[in-house]
Structures are given as structure tokens and as C-alpha cells.
């Protein structure tokens, strides 16, 4: 057998078998238990199926949780050794994505790796109007007022406590029916 022999000459079934093995095992692992991921940092893990119950802890974005039981609007989950209830729409079937990229199957097959900063950037780590956007606006003669308006829009923050109070008063989110 020479080194020039192709895989297809050795066994035409090898590639399909290899693919089947990889996907089969990956699929089997996914159905063995349901893992969901926390969408946003600060998500509350509560003692019972109610937003008014004790907050056991808060979970960070991307934390994997194992589903124990599914309720109407809350899921009972275990995470980090604790079991409690989370508003189901604060959980996602997929881990929060890093920006852009093709770090999935195609990237893995081709060995194409992203090395720029954007790969590692989370949404909240890129703040403020981009210098290139500001330069473009000035070149087009757009007034400073409009540029400043975008910067003010970006700088505006809502206190998480105020948001929570807003939801509670409106019977929304975890406070809903």
C-alpha cells in the first residue's frame, strides 16, 4: 500500500461511516438530556414557579442548565449544584453566540480559525459609535447634533431594578400569567 492511495480506494464506505459516527454520537448526546443556556446575565433562579418566590441565585449569560421539569411559563432546572425555576423565555436551546464567525462544523472541517478580536467580543463589550461611522458622517456633512444623538442613545441605560419593577407592575415576563 503506497502513501498515494486514496481513502476511496481503501474503502469507499469509510467517509460515510466516519460522518455517521461523528453525527450519530453527537446526536445521541443531545437527546440524552435537555441542556438549555441562559440568555442574559442576571437571570434569576427562583425557589418556586413564581417570580415572587425567593431568588436562590442569579445566573450568568451562557450558563448551561439541565431541565428537570417543564411548567407553563417556568422550567425547573439545575445549575451549579442548585435546583430552581427560571422563566422559560430567558433560556435558549443554543449557547449565546459570539459575534459572527464560522467556528462551527464548516470551520472545524476546513481548519479555518478566526483570530481577530471580533471572535471573542460579546455584544456588550463593543460600545460606542465606531470611529469609522463618525468619520463617514462627518465626510457626508451630517451635523454633530445627529452624531451626538446616536452617542446619547447608546449611553442611555436602564437600571435592572427599574426594569424588574416595570415588569412586575405590568404583570409581564416572569410576573405574567
Amino acid at each position: 500500500m503506497t502513501s498515494n492511495n486514496t481513502i476511496s480506494r481503501r474503502s469507499p464506505l469509510l467517509i460515510p461511516l466516519l460522518t455517521l459516527l461523528l453525527f450519530g454520537l453527537g446526536f445521541a448526546s443531545k437527546i440524552s438530556a435537555q441542556t438549555l443556556y441562559v440568555k442574559k446575565s442576571g437571570t434569576k433562579l427562583q425557589a418556586s414557579e413564581s417570580a415572587r418566590s425567593q431568588v436562590l441565585t442569579t445566573l450568568n449569560q451562557g450558563t448551561p442548565v439541565q431541565v428537570v421539569k417543564k411548567g407553563k411559563r417556568f422550567y425547573q432546572v439545575s445549575a451549579g449544584g442548585k435546583t430552581g425555576w427560571v422563566f422559560k423565555f430567558r433560556l435558549s436551546a443554543t449557547a449565546p453566540q459570539k459575534s459572527g464567525g464560522d467556528a462551527g462544523l464548516l470551520g472545524a472541517l476546513g481548519g479555518r480559525q478566526k483570530i481577530a478580536a471580533k471572535e471573542a467580543s460579546s455584544g456588550s463589550s463593543i460600545r460606542g459609535l465606531s470611529p469609522i461611522a463618525e468619520k463617514h458622517a462627518k465626510k457626508k456633512g451630517i451635523s454633530e447634533t445627529d452624531i451626538k444623538a446616536v452617542k446619547q442613545m447608546e449611553a442611555f441605560r436602564i437600571d435592572p431594578k427599574e426594569l424588574d419593577k416595570f415588569l412586575k407592575e405590568g404583570k409581564l415576563g416572569e410576573y405574567g400569567q
Binding site: 479555518r112 460579546s122 451630517i142 405590568g170
Partner: protein
Amino acid sequence: MKKTILFLALMAVILLSAQSSYSFRLDKFLEEVTKPPPEPKQQTSQEPAKAAPQNQPKQPEQQQGGGGLIGLGESLGVFDKKTSNILKQSVGTLQAFQPIGLEEEKAIGGSLAVEVFNKFGGPYKNPVLQNYVNLVGKSVAEVSDRPEIDYHFAVLNTDAPNAFATPGGYVFISAGLLRLLNNEAQLAGVLGHEIAHITHKHALQTLQRGKVLSGLSGLTMAAMDQDNNLFDQIINEVSEVLFTRGLDKDLEFEADKFGMEYAYRMGYHPEGLKNFLKILGKSQRRESSIFLSTHPSPASRFQQLIGLLPQYKGFALYPVLSKRYKTTVQGQL
């Protein structure tokens, strides 16, 4: 043949050992397999979670790896060079245009946000309204399919009933549109529609199919920095789509579908967006609305949403919050 068996055995052992973890993910595993060797330590450590400072020389966006699963197979003798090249070319074709990264998306979206203020009346300077629209918008965005980015909401100082979204998380609603609404569920539906354009990257998809990016394999900050014309052309093209021509009809219907879904997830009555479309269709001010001229007719959108409603059960008692809407908005417009 021995190498082939060795390769398969290695894959099987690693995969089976990974089964013990419930959170095993094939794509993560493949990333690990294809990870390039660690680079020599540099004097200054880089924090992977932070964006590179703007004044530093840009690194090349991608490097063609000789690695990857295919490369690994080649090095183990499973594939010969020719087979490996054919497989890599096929993967390369599928990778033809890299998704636009968040940094680039925000640069494009921020630039378009400046244009929105410039073309559509500037900011409506009212802290009460700004706070309220942000509260509703951020609530809905948090249960969307892309909650990890920062969303920013602003009110535009124009009587024309308009709403816009630009890539990267910028959402606008005009004072004129706020005047048309009757309750918070309608506002949540409208903002949900705009958020859905961002979560589903509709403007970026359209840009990637357009003429400016044809022939490019990817879009990077480095490329936009080096070629001012490229950024100008990108902004002009997206601006034309968003403010004049409109997105594809199907993308608007998709934004309606997800807009209604996001509002529902947050606990709002899901008929808010549908009921707003009815109001918009009858409005005297519809002629001046970009929201209307660049979108399918309110009647067709209304019909589509009616068709989607049966999937939602037991929402009759979901709040529309008309009292809170009127109390907050009254006297501010």
C-alpha cells in the same frame, strides 16, 4: 489501513468519553480538535473577551489553516493530498462569504443610525418617553433570539408614523407613530418587529446579496478602514434598501412573525402588532410613512398575523396595558 483504523478509534474514544458530559456539543468538540497550536507567549497578555483597541494595527481577519479535521485526516494518511484539497475546496465554497462580525455590524448600524436622525427629524427630546420606549424595547429584546447584544431605543421628532432598525441594535420609533398607538402591547409589537430585523440580520443578509460585497470573501474592520470607498458604498447600499426601496417582502413578514412572538414571550397580548397595522392602514398620515411605503401593505401583513394567531393559546387575558401607555405618553407628545 492501520492509520485509518487508528484515526477512527481516536475519534470514537474522544466522542464516547465526551458522552459523560450532558453538555457535549459536536461543534465545540470539533473546534477543540482543530485548535491551532498555542502561540508563543507575548509580553502583553490579550484578554479574549475584549475588542482590540482601535489604534492598534489590525490583525488579518482569517488565516487559512492547514489544520482542520481534513488536515488531521491528511496528516494521519487517511486522505491523500489530492482528496484533502478537493474536500477543502468544497468546504471553502460553502464558507464563501463569512458572516459579518458584530464589530463590523455595529459600525454599519451606527453609521445608519446617524442617517436616521439626519433624515427623519432628529431626536425627540423627552426623557420620559425615551425611558418608557427603552423599558418596553429592552424587555422585549431580552426574550428575543439575540438577547446578548445591547439594544438602544430612541424616539424621532417627526409626525410621520415611522419605525426603523439598523444593524447592531439601534431601534427608532417616531413621535407620530407613538401618537397612533393605543396601548403598550401595540408598542411592544412594533418594537418586536424592529428587533426581529436585528435578530435575524435582515439588512446584513440583503447587503451580502448585494453588488457591493459581491466578489468579497468577507467583510472586516481592517478592510473598511483601509478602503474608505468600501464603507461609503456599504452605507449607501443599505441606506437605499432601508429608507427607500425596502427589504424583501418575505423579510418583513418574517419580522412581523417574530415581532409578535417576542411580544408574546414577554407576556404582552400577541395581537398588539396586528391591531396597530389596522390602525396604520386607516391612518390619514399614512402617505408620509416610510414604515408604510417600504413595507408590504398593512392589509397583507394583518392577514398574515391572523393566520399565525392560532398557534398562541390562552392569551385572552394577556395585558395590553392601555392605561399605563396613555398615562405615560399623555402630555409628552
